[in-house]
């Protein structure tokens, strides 16, 4: 009996420091403080840095972007560098890149919710916004790439005057469904997550206009137990669905490649390859956004170093998987004995014209990623910012290697050709980058950038079984 009493005593003792979890919010702050802190940025005056970032982004989004878009649509796909044999060029590279950026956002917000990682509450909203905006950018590329953008509606199963229907056996057709669904579902998820936070901003608003806007967006949310009960159910269901999408959308993009007969593309590893590559690239973008916004929005005690450390670890894990896949690709190219595949692989690293991208892939995605093993690097925010940028560049060059590398030298030497992007390729990419950052900056300034109610629920003050949350007897009373 005395032993059992001792175990009861033991349970009441706090675990040693090294076994304790890092707090979600530093400084053991109360719920009111959290509310003030997290809604402060959306309510304060627009800071100077915001304008400094917003003006060039808005210029790219509202001048460069439409100019390149209209010129391209009026002239034709030839305005880009795409030409025989490189029918896919920067447009597809950028499409995959943007879809990739989106994926980590969903992974953080949905998969980490399902695995009950409380630290995700502080960065989930930022990740979701990244998803929504980058999927929108991604979807644009194939829509223009079809050549006659005004016939895009032929891709949807709508009765048309030709009496034709889409060909549902093609992965390119599946892409239409996948990207549209991804955009819709991630937007719904993003919006639904914000409803309780809109209610917070509504209740805090000082001016009539602000009150009207947030009352409209909050849709009469009161936060009753009944509402939360159903909301939580809808949230967990949407998280499950979004997690399915993480693994589906990029797989389908991968299928676009592996159902073709080209050397290297025709590989069963491609769907997985694209999913992991997407997640890795997205974690890179997440590192860039988190390290900078944390400082600029004064959220150091909310987006703690421990949270960024975890994102960096996830980047490392996905980076290691992608390294394994590179190894597998090279191994299969050698072991498969297909001379064309060996040829293409040899040219990735020892060919002419594009070998720089191949070495960039090795240099960044394989070598630089290993830096994340070190705790010193993971706690150095400047280093993480740079590594995040490098990962994005590295993953962009990986997609270039995959797309152009297989196309420019196929089975017939008479068919070989080179690919050079034109200024319209570059302009459109700059334009989409501008549009992404413009939308993101607007989101950061005007919407609840951190899921306020979720963070509050993850603090000890919000836990009814914690002494700080009002538990009297300890444990579950």
């Amino acid at each position: 009996m005395s032993e059992i009493a001792n175990i009861e005593e033991l349970k009441k003792l706090a675990p040693p420091a090294e076994l304790r979890r890092a707090p979600v919010i530093e400084g053991n702050q109360g719920l009111g403080w959290v509310t003030d802190k997290l809604s402060a940025f959306a309510e304060a005056k627009v800071p100077i840095w915001w304008w400094i970032a917003f003006v060039p982004a808005a210029f790219a989004a509202t001048v460069i972007f439409p100019v390149c878009l209209f010129y391209q649509v009026f002239t034709g796909v030839g305005a880009w560098g795409n030409n025989h044999p490189n029918m896919w060029g920067w447009d597809i590279v950028n499409f995959i890149w943007w879809v990739g950026v989106a994926h980590a956002g969903t992974l953080i917000s949905a998969l980490l919710f399902l695995t009950r990682q409380h630290w995700r509450t502080t960065i989930g909203r930022m990740a979701e916004a990244m998803t929504v905006f980058s999927v929108a950018m991604a979807g644009l590329y194939p829509a223009i790439h079809v050549g006659r953008a005004w016939f895009d509606w032929f891709m949807f199963p709508i009765p048309n005057s030709n009496g034709l229907w889409p060909q549902f056996k093609s992965p390119l057709m599946w892409d239409v469904f996948a990207v549209n669904t991804y955009l819709m579902v991630s937007s719904l998820f993003w919006f639904m997550g914000m409803i309780p936070d809109f209610a917070i901003l509504r209740d805090r608003s000082k001016t009539r206009v602000r009150k009207a806007i947030f009352s409209f967006l909050a849709m009469g949310w009161t936060g009753s137990a009944w509402q939360w009960h159903n909301y939580e159910k809808a949230y967990v269901v949407l998280c499950g669905l979004c997690t399915l999408l993480v693994f589906t959308v990029s797989s389908i993009v991968g299928l676009d490649f592996c159902t073709s007969q080209l050397a290297v593309w025709h590989a069963t590893i491609f769907p997985l390859y694209f999913v992991i590559g997407a997640v890795f690239c997205g974690f890179g973008m997440m590192l860039v956004l988190l390290t900078s916004l944390r400082k600029l929005c004064h959220l150091e005690s909310v987006i703690t170093k421990s949270h960024i450390d975890k994102v960096a670890k996830l980047a490392l894990v996905s980076g290691l998987i992608i390294n394994y896949i590179y190894l597998m690709e090279i191994f299969i190219a050698w072991y498969g004995g297909d001379p064309y595949e060996r040829w293409v692989f040899g040219h990735r690293f020892f060919g002419h014209t594009y070998m720089g991208f191949g070495w960039m892939l090795i240099g960044i995605n394989v070598c630089t990623t290993q830096l994340l093993w070190f705790k010193k690097i993971r706690s150095n925010l400047v280093a993480l910012f740079i590594i995040g940028l490098l990962i994005n560049i590295g993953m962009w060059s990986e997609r270039f290697v995959i797309v152009v590398g297989s196309l420019y030298q196929d089975f017939l030497p008479a068919n070989w050709g080179k690919y050079h992007p034109t200024m319209w390729d570059v302009g459109l990419y700059v334009g989409t980058l501008g549009a992404f950052f413009m939308l993101y900056l607007l989101f950061v300034k005007f919407l609840p950038v951190i899921a306020i109610s979720e963070v509050k629920g993850a603090t000890p003050q919000g836990d009814p079984h914690h002494p700080l949350g009002g538990a009297q007897k300890g444990g579950h009373q």
């Binding site: 109360g30 719920l31 009111g32 509310t35 199963p157 009496g163 034709l164 229907w165 060909q167 549902f168 056996k169 992965p171 057709m173 599946w174 469904f177 549209n180 669904t181 819709m184 579902v185 719904l188 998820f189 639904m192 309780p196 209610a199 917070i200 509504r202 209740d203 805090r204 849709m219 009469g220 949310w221 009161t222 936060g223 137990a225 009944w226 509402q227 939360w228 009960h229 159903n230 909301y231 939580e232 159910k233 809808a234 269901v237 949407l238 669905l241 399915l244 999408l245 589906t248 389908i252 109610s453 003050q461 919000g462 836990d463 009814p464 079984h465 700080l468 949350g469 009002g470 009297q472």
Partner: protein, 179 residues
């Protein structure tokens, strides 16, 4: 403007206090009451006696509806209305419909979850008597509020007020129903 009572409202400071108070109110036999909190409280569902939310079923229905719809659409489009031979494959076979149907199932289920949540929670709503209350703004900040409805059979302005005060509720106030 007719002003009758909507209910009595009491504030609590911590989620733990709210849970204990909710248990007592339920034990006292009240039925038409609700707790308003800044975030979902673990264990409150049980105290309120809620069963599994309907939202999951709405989502399932939405997903199933879309899945079957797309399978049917593909059969209609590629096998019936305009038979299309691709690579010598059959006009219609269930496995080939899977990917688009699966993707659209996710879309249907997501809409089901969101619209189901709106439906069950009766959102969006333009008016709620509690939203006129200055003190109710605490419910989205750091206060935990219990409201006992005036339409409850056991509701009595004085007795209910005493009960709310005795279980630790602060600032017990009457909420008017402003029509």
């Amino acid at each position: 403007m007719s002003e009758k009572a909507y209910g009595l409202m009491a504030e609590f400071n911590t989620p733990g206090d709210l849970l204990r108070a909710a248990e007592k109110i339920r034990a006292n036999g009240y039925r038409k009451w609700d707790a308003f909190t800044p975030f979902p409280i673990h264990g409150l569902d049980k105290v309120m006696g809620y069963r599994n939310s309907l939202v999951g079923w709405v989502s399932l229905a939405g997903g199933t509806f879309m899945f079957l719809n797309i399978v049917g659409l593909i059969w209609f489009a590629n096998a019936f209305d305009y038979p299309l031979i691709v690579g010598g494959k059959p006009m219609f076979s269930p496995p080939m419909t899977f990917v688009p149907a699966y993707i659209m199932m996710i879309m249907g289920a997501a809409f089901g979850a969101l619209l189901g949540m709106f439906g069950v929670n009766q959102l969006p709503r333009l008016h709620h008597p509690l939203l006129f209350k200055q003190r109710f703004e605490g419910a989205s900040r750091d206060k935990f509020i219990i409201v006992i409805g005036a339409n409850d059979e056991k509701f009595c302005a004085t007795e209910t007020k005493q009960l709310l005060a005795s279980i630790g509720g602060a600032n017990v106030e009457i909420v008017e129903d402003q029509e």
